[in-house]
Symmetry: C2
Subunit: 358 residues, 2 copies
């Protein structure tokens, strides 16, 4: 394997330090997102890890605590899985009023081929003790957030059921190359179907817990905090952010494009972490009437689908094009997603304006 290339200068920087950057929508039209164009989101600077001295520690409620070297890990039985990952804050900048957090447009999403071993492989090697209820995954990235959160590592837990699902991977390669430092070298958790906060980068420790984890990134972040208070208890009711809600995006044409009459192809992609994409509908009149698009291209279980629509505009003028996805479990993308204080899951239907020339 050769070395990863650097980041593409066309990435849009959302925060300089630590580097958070997204992909321009019109560059997201490859089925597999090239690594240099894949969005980057992290709370803290990239930790410098040398594979020779790094170990993955597996401890807590296990029969045999482990310290696995990079070469031991990479020698475990491997799988390739094409998985789309979206940041839970993708689309946050379109909430009104503004929600706190990085102001992502639509480009905090990408699709890659991940290679690794199922997390359950190493849990089987370590042996899960009966008291274990959750699997805590700890990254090597740590620090203090601007709001004064106490210093600590980025860490998230999974239920035993999710941790031992056959498709939950410990990945060491992305698109056929070892992970780059920005994307989690040497090891990253991949939880297919889930938002990106679960894809813990720079994995350094896996601890089996006898009690549910209540750390900052589990209970204070990546939760839906509605605007308002519970009338009875006085406390805010929150629900955790887990699987990706359905979303379709238009990658071509771009918002504001001028099209020639009598020929226009509209295309993009759609995904849902809850079930396979079943249909993508398109409206040319701002959402009044809808037509089915054609699903095209590869159909990996946890990856986005491409869709396209051939349009023959009959009249010059301005059009508002809207797209929405529905998955096989009937989860439909809303016209307007629910506002929440931390600005997650803004999967409002994507709409663009185009002008057809006379």
């Amino acid at each position: 394997m050769t070395r990863n290339p650097g980041n593409d200068p066309r990435l849009v920087v959302v925060r300089e330090s630590p580097l958070n950057a997204e992909t321009p929508l019109e560059l997201l039209d490859d089925y597999v997102t090239p690594t240099p164009l894949f969005y980057m989101r992290s709370n803290f600077p990239v930790p410098g890890i040398l594979a020779d001295s790094w170990h993955l520690v597996v401890d807590g409620e296990v029969e045999r605590p482990l310290a696995l070297s990079y070469s031991e890990l990479v020698s475990l039985p491997a799988r390739d899985l094409t998985v789309t990952i979206e940041c839970a804050g993708n689309g946050r900048s379109y909430f009104s009023p503004k929600a706190q957090g990085e102001q992502w447009r639509y480009g905090a999403v990408g699709n890659a081929v991940w290679t690794g071993t199922p997390l359950r492989t190493i849990l089987e090697i370590a042996g899960i003790k009966p008291p274990a209820v959750e699997v805590l995954c700890v990254g090597a990235d740590r620090g203090t957030l601007p709001d004064g959160t106490p210093e600590g590592a980025f860490e998230r837990s999974l239920t035993l059921e999710t941790a031992t699902a056959p498709d939950t991977l410990l990945a060491w390669a992305m698109n056929g190359e070892p992970l780059s430092p920005a994307h989690g070298y040497p090891l990253r958790l991949i939880v297919p179907g889930w938002y990106g906060m679960s894809a813990v980068k720079w994995l350094t420790r896996i601890s089996l817990l006898a009690e549910p984890f209540t750390g900052f990134y589990q209970r204070e972040r990546y939760v839906m905090v509605p605007d308002g208070r519970d009338s009875e208890s006085g406390h805010t009711r929150t629900t955790p952010v887990t699987r990706m809600a359905p979303r379709a995006l238009i990658t071509s044409p771009v918002d504001g494009a001028r099209l020639e009459a009598n020929r226009a192809r509209i295309s993009g992609m759609a995904w849902s972490g809850l079930a396979a994409v079943e249909k993508v509908e398109l409206s040319l009149d701002g959402g009044a009437t809808w037509d089915l698009t054609r699903l095209t291209g590869p159909n990996h279980r946890y990856a986005w689908r491409h869709w396209e629509y051939d349009w023959t505009p009959e009249t010059a003028g301005s059009y508002e094009v809207v797209v929405r996805a529905t998955d096989a479990k009937g989860n439909a993308q809303p016209a307007q997603a629910s506002w929440n204080k931390l600005g997650y899951k803004n999967n409002s239907a994507h709409r663009i304006g185009v002008r057809v020339e006379g």
Copy 2:
């Protein structure tokens, strides 16, 4: 996806027309073989296929005969699988006396990531009728062999058990790109663990048969024909070529290399289609004594493993380095493979000569 690049000029041409070419051994040290360096073996010229007019026909003993378009196929649920494919004639040139067929050295082998849908997916859509016992896979390549074989297509059958195994794929992509014409565009069968003759390129028809297939490439080629006659019947007893026998190869250093004293790394890869590679042993004295090498790198179920050995030569002089693989079912690579008339499965232990400088 972008277009496939052309073939690498470093490929060694074994036959000009139709083009048969192998990879120089020292260029086989990447874990995933770059597509332009992947060996090419075919009986007939590459058929020119336009995806728009091509269909995969599924017929014979099925409930619902099908004619699937390229876009229909590519929309089926997809899997990525890293699979090593070796030509059954790889190493034939080292048989003595010469066996008939292309005179391959060691480079008719490669490892790639294949993307496609399980063959059983389309067999389920078509519905297998009870009389079916085999699945015939027909390529679009056809012609007459130099020895006067009647004109026909390249076609091979699988038992129902092999055809419906979950890892038997109809692949449309190789290393993340649509198949190139040389490698079977638009569709190629991948039977993990089997020699390359089963990886039928340019697939055009899949027919379910009520009787075992007896065509030329099933009964007259890809069979082990021993040197001699059956004493009772007067007929030659043959056995079919199926799964890849264990083999290890040395990719570095090259045969004839001069090494510096006190530091030498010997490395290569090893595979078996019968079970996982369990050990690779190395001899520095022509096979008198053996030492274990270290298995390294990715461990995909149907792909080769890399191995390496750090050697500190104590004495200048000439050494004969030999390597041999053993798999988890105890299949061991022989010092000398059995000669057979068609020159298949020559997995004799790989040996090279090196000279250590004083």
